[in-house]
Protein backbone atom coordinates (compact mmCIF):
# COMPACT_ATOMS: atom_id res chain seq x y z
CA UNK A 1 0.00 0.00 0.00
CA UNK A 2 1.39 3.23 -1.09
CA UNK A 3 1.31 6.46 0.81
CA UNK A 4 -1.16 9.00 -0.50
CA UNK A 5 -2.00 12.52 0.57
CA UNK A 6 -5.36 14.07 -0.20
CA UNK A 7 -6.43 17.60 0.61
CA UNK A 8 -10.21 18.07 0.85
CA UNK A 9 -11.92 20.81 2.87
CA UNK A 10 -13.71 19.30 5.88
CA UNK A 11 -16.68 21.63 5.58
CA UNK A 12 -18.31 23.43 2.69
CA UNK A 13 -21.46 25.33 1.83
CA UNK A 14 -24.00 23.63 -0.44
CA UNK A 15 -23.21 24.40 -4.06
CA UNK A 16 -19.70 25.64 -3.31
CA UNK A 17 -16.92 24.60 -5.68
CA UNK A 18 -14.24 22.85 -3.65
CA UNK A 19 -10.69 22.20 -4.81
CA UNK A 20 -9.25 18.73 -4.22
CA UNK A 21 -5.52 18.08 -4.38
CA UNK A 22 -4.19 14.54 -4.42
CA UNK A 23 -0.66 13.17 -4.32
CA UNK A 24 0.32 9.50 -4.51
CA UNK A 25 3.74 8.19 -3.59
CA UNK A 26 4.97 6.34 -6.68
CA UNK A 27 8.20 6.42 -8.70
CA UNK A 28 6.33 6.34 -12.05
CA UNK A 29 9.12 4.39 -13.82
CA UNK A 30 8.75 5.34 -17.48
CA UNK A 31 9.99 2.17 -19.15
CA UNK A 32 12.43 4.18 -21.26
CA UNK A 33 15.34 4.30 -18.81
CA UNK A 34 18.23 1.85 -18.75
CA UNK A 35 20.54 0.61 -16.04
CA UNK A 36 24.31 1.04 -16.34
CA UNK A 37 24.43 -2.43 -17.88
CA UNK A 38 22.09 -1.29 -20.64
CA UNK A 39 19.07 -3.25 -19.53
CA UNK A 40 15.74 -1.55 -19.99
CA UNK A 41 13.94 -0.88 -16.71
CA UNK A 42 10.36 -2.11 -17.16
CA UNK A 43 7.51 0.36 -17.01
CA UNK A 44 5.82 0.70 -13.64
CA UNK A 45 3.34 3.55 -13.45
CA UNK A 46 -0.06 4.48 -12.10
CA UNK A 47 -2.40 4.34 -15.09
CA UNK A 48 -5.73 5.38 -13.67
CA UNK A 49 -7.14 7.66 -11.00
CA UNK A 50 -10.79 8.01 -10.04
CA UNK A 51 -12.68 10.08 -7.50
CA UNK A 52 -16.23 9.26 -6.51
CA UNK A 53 -18.54 11.37 -4.37
CA UNK A 54 -20.99 9.24 -2.37
CA UNK A 55 -20.53 6.43 -4.87
CA UNK A 56 -20.91 8.52 -8.02
CA UNK A 57 -17.80 9.09 -10.12
CA UNK A 58 -17.07 12.80 -10.46
CA UNK A 59 -13.54 12.76 -11.88
CA UNK A 60 -11.39 10.24 -13.71
CA UNK A 61 -7.94 10.52 -15.23
CA UNK A 62 -5.69 8.30 -17.32
CA UNK A 63 -2.02 8.78 -16.58
CA UNK A 64 0.93 8.10 -18.87
CA UNK A 65 4.71 7.74 -18.35
CA UNK A 66 5.07 11.50 -18.92
CA UNK A 67 3.57 12.18 -15.50
CA UNK A 68 6.17 13.23 -12.94
CA UNK A 69 7.06 10.90 -10.09
CA UNK A 70 4.63 11.11 -7.15
CA UNK A 71 1.81 12.25 -9.42
CA UNK A 72 -0.11 15.30 -8.27
CA UNK A 73 -3.64 15.75 -9.56
CA UNK A 74 -5.72 18.75 -8.55
CA UNK A 75 -9.30 19.24 -9.69
CA UNK A 76 -12.57 20.60 -8.37
CA UNK A 77 -16.06 19.44 -7.62
CA UNK A 78 -19.31 20.94 -6.39
CA UNK A 79 -20.16 20.20 -2.76
CA UNK A 80 -23.67 18.76 -3.10
CA UNK A 81 -24.24 16.81 0.10
CA UNK A 82 -22.43 15.54 3.18
CA UNK A 83 -20.70 12.25 2.69
CA UNK A 84 -17.45 10.66 1.64
CA UNK A 85 -15.12 11.11 -1.27
CA UNK A 86 -13.39 7.92 -2.39
CA UNK A 87 -10.09 8.12 -4.23
CA UNK A 88 -8.58 5.20 -6.07
CA UNK A 89 -5.29 4.85 -7.92
CA UNK A 90 -4.56 1.74 -9.98
CA UNK A 91 -1.56 0.89 -12.08
CA UNK A 92 1.00 -1.56 -13.42
CA UNK A 93 1.98 -4.69 -11.49
CA UNK A 94 -1.34 -4.72 -9.67
CA UNK A 95 -0.75 -1.38 -7.98
CA UNK A 96 -3.77 -0.15 -6.09
CA UNK A 97 -4.24 2.53 -3.45
CA UNK A 98 -7.37 3.98 -1.97
CA UNK A 99 -8.19 6.84 0.33
CA UNK A 100 -11.42 8.29 1.59
CA UNK A 101 -12.22 11.69 3.03
CA UNK A 102 -15.43 12.89 4.60
CA UNK A 103 -17.01 16.25 3.98
CA UNK A 104 -19.78 18.06 5.82
CA UNK A 105 -22.02 20.22 3.66
CA UNK A 106 -24.50 22.68 5.16
Amino acid sequence: MSRVVVNVPAEAKRGEIIEIRTLAGHSMETGFRRTQLGELIPRDIITRFTCSYNGIEVFRAELHPAMAANPLIAFSTVATESGTLEFRWTGDNGFSATHSASITVD
Binding site: T30, F32, Q36, A61, H64, A66, T77
Partner: protein, 155 residues
Protein backbone atom coordinates in the same frame (compact mmCIF):
# COMPACT_ATOMS: atom_id res chain seq x y z
CA UNK B 1 51.22 -2.59 -50.99
CA UNK B 2 48.85 -0.17 -49.24
CA UNK B 3 50.12 3.37 -49.01
CA UNK B 4 49.35 5.53 -46.04
CA UNK B 5 47.01 7.63 -48.18
CA UNK B 6 45.02 4.61 -49.37
CA UNK B 7 44.80 3.26 -45.85
CA UNK B 8 43.42 6.56 -44.54
CA UNK B 9 40.84 6.80 -47.32
CA UNK B 10 39.72 3.23 -46.69
CA UNK B 11 39.57 3.66 -42.92
CA UNK B 12 37.61 6.91 -43.14
CA UNK B 13 35.22 5.35 -45.64
CA UNK B 14 34.62 2.39 -43.36
CA UNK B 15 34.06 4.66 -40.36
CA UNK B 16 31.64 6.85 -42.30
CA UNK B 17 29.76 3.80 -43.51
CA UNK B 18 29.46 2.47 -39.98
CA UNK B 19 28.28 5.86 -38.72
CA UNK B 20 25.66 6.03 -41.44
CA UNK B 21 24.40 2.55 -40.66
CA UNK B 22 23.99 3.50 -37.00
CA UNK B 23 22.23 6.81 -37.61
CA UNK B 24 18.83 6.69 -35.95
CA UNK B 25 15.78 7.24 -38.09
CA UNK B 26 14.43 10.76 -38.22
CA UNK B 27 13.21 10.89 -34.63
CA UNK B 28 11.72 14.34 -34.95
CA UNK B 29 9.48 13.31 -37.83
CA UNK B 30 8.50 10.09 -36.04
CA UNK B 31 7.53 11.98 -32.91
CA UNK B 32 5.57 14.57 -34.87
CA UNK B 33 3.67 11.75 -36.57
CA UNK B 34 3.05 10.07 -33.19
CA UNK B 35 1.68 13.36 -31.80
CA UNK B 36 -0.60 13.86 -34.79
CA UNK B 37 -1.81 10.29 -34.51
CA UNK B 38 -2.51 10.71 -30.80
CA UNK B 39 -4.45 13.92 -31.43
CA UNK B 40 -6.42 12.25 -34.23
CA UNK B 41 -7.26 9.38 -31.90
CA UNK B 42 -8.82 11.87 -29.50
CA UNK B 43 -10.56 14.14 -31.99
CA UNK B 44 -11.42 11.64 -34.72
CA UNK B 45 -10.79 14.13 -37.56
CA UNK B 46 -13.04 16.79 -36.00
CA UNK B 47 -11.58 20.29 -36.35
CA UNK B 48 -9.61 21.59 -33.37
CA UNK B 49 -9.97 25.32 -32.88
CA UNK B 50 -7.75 27.66 -30.92
CA UNK B 51 -9.25 29.44 -27.93
CA UNK B 52 -11.35 28.79 -24.82
CA UNK B 53 -8.46 26.78 -23.38
CA UNK B 54 -5.64 28.28 -21.37
CA UNK B 55 -2.61 26.12 -20.72
CA UNK B 56 -0.39 27.48 -17.97
CA UNK B 57 3.14 26.13 -18.14
CA UNK B 58 6.35 28.04 -17.45
CA UNK B 59 8.09 29.02 -20.71
CA UNK B 60 11.54 28.22 -19.31
CA UNK B 61 11.90 24.92 -17.50
CA UNK B 62 15.03 24.21 -15.45
CA UNK B 63 14.15 20.62 -14.66
CA UNK B 64 12.00 18.67 -17.08
CA UNK B 65 11.42 15.89 -14.55
CA UNK B 66 8.73 17.81 -12.74
CA UNK B 67 6.93 20.60 -14.54
CA UNK B 68 3.86 22.14 -12.91
CA UNK B 69 1.14 22.75 -15.46
CA UNK B 70 -2.51 23.63 -15.30
CA UNK B 71 -5.30 23.81 -17.85
CA UNK B 72 -8.28 26.17 -17.60
CA UNK B 73 -11.22 25.95 -19.97
CA UNK B 74 -13.91 28.61 -20.36
CA UNK B 75 -17.17 26.83 -19.73
CA UNK B 76 -20.24 27.39 -17.55
CA UNK B 77 -20.03 23.69 -16.52
CA UNK B 78 -23.79 23.09 -16.56
CA UNK B 79 -25.32 19.77 -17.56
CA UNK B 80 -26.22 21.29 -20.93
CA UNK B 81 -22.81 22.81 -21.61
CA UNK B 82 -19.69 21.44 -19.97
CA UNK B 83 -16.20 20.15 -20.62
CA UNK B 84 -16.10 16.40 -21.11
CA UNK B 85 -12.38 15.82 -21.21
CA UNK B 86 -9.04 17.59 -21.13
CA UNK B 87 -6.09 15.99 -22.92
CA UNK B 88 -2.49 17.17 -22.57
CA UNK B 89 0.27 16.24 -25.04
CA UNK B 90 3.94 17.01 -25.52
CA UNK B 91 5.80 17.11 -28.77
CA UNK B 92 9.22 15.73 -27.86
CA UNK B 93 8.68 12.88 -25.39
CA UNK B 94 9.03 9.24 -26.51
CA UNK B 95 5.24 9.07 -26.20
CA UNK B 96 3.06 12.13 -26.77
CA UNK B 97 0.54 11.58 -23.97
CA UNK B 98 0.74 13.21 -20.53
CA UNK B 99 -2.73 12.96 -19.02
CA UNK B 100 -6.37 12.60 -20.01
CA UNK B 101 -8.87 13.92 -17.47
CA UNK B 102 -12.58 13.21 -17.70
CA UNK B 103 -14.77 15.86 -16.12
CA UNK B 104 -18.46 16.54 -16.01
CA UNK B 105 -20.97 19.12 -14.85
CA UNK B 106 -20.25 18.13 -11.24
CA UNK B 107 -16.72 19.51 -11.52
CA UNK B 108 -18.10 23.04 -11.16
CA UNK B 109 -15.02 24.55 -12.72
CA UNK B 110 -13.07 23.26 -15.72
CA UNK B 111 -9.58 23.34 -14.32
CA UNK B 112 -6.99 20.66 -13.63
CA UNK B 113 -3.42 20.96 -12.52
CA UNK B 114 -0.69 18.37 -12.39
CA UNK B 115 3.05 17.82 -12.82
CA UNK B 116 4.58 16.36 -15.96
CA UNK B 117 7.87 15.16 -17.37
CA UNK B 118 8.96 17.04 -20.45
CA UNK B 119 11.74 15.56 -22.56
CA UNK B 120 12.93 18.41 -24.69
CA UNK B 121 12.36 21.95 -25.92
CA UNK B 122 9.14 21.93 -27.89
CA UNK B 123 5.42 22.51 -27.72
CA UNK B 124 3.00 21.39 -25.01
CA UNK B 125 -0.60 21.16 -26.21
CA UNK B 126 -3.88 20.95 -24.29
CA UNK B 127 -7.08 19.92 -26.05
CA UNK B 128 -10.52 20.21 -24.44
CA UNK B 129 -13.52 18.26 -25.61
CA UNK B 130 -16.79 20.06 -24.89
CA UNK B 131 -20.20 18.48 -24.42
CA UNK B 132 -21.36 19.73 -27.84
CA UNK B 133 -18.58 17.67 -29.46
CA UNK B 134 -16.29 20.57 -30.38
CA UNK B 135 -12.56 20.60 -29.65
CA UNK B 136 -10.55 23.60 -28.49
CA UNK B 137 -6.85 23.80 -27.89
CA UNK B 138 -3.95 25.85 -26.62
CA UNK B 139 -0.29 25.28 -27.25
CA UNK B 140 2.76 26.69 -25.46
CA UNK B 141 6.36 26.50 -26.60
CA UNK B 142 8.65 25.64 -23.72
CA UNK B 143 12.42 25.64 -23.39
CA UNK B 144 13.86 22.79 -21.30
CA UNK B 145 17.38 23.08 -19.93
CA UNK B 146 17.57 19.78 -18.01
CA UNK B 147 15.62 17.18 -19.89
CA UNK B 148 13.61 14.33 -18.43
CA UNK B 149 14.13 10.97 -20.17
CA UNK B 150 17.90 11.49 -20.60
CA UNK B 151 19.04 10.11 -17.28
CA UNK B 152 20.36 6.82 -18.63
CA UNK B 153 23.17 5.26 -16.70
CA UNK B 154 22.37 7.05 -13.49
CA UNK B 155 21.19 3.95 -11.70
Amino acid sequence: MTTRRQFLVLACGAAAGAAQAQLPPNIEALRKAALQQAVRKVTGDAPVRRGKVQLNVPPLIDNGNSVALSVDVESPMTSAEHVRAIHVFTEKNPQPYIITAHLGPRAGRARISTRARIGDTGAVTAIAQLSDGSFWSDSVKVIVTLSACLEEGLI
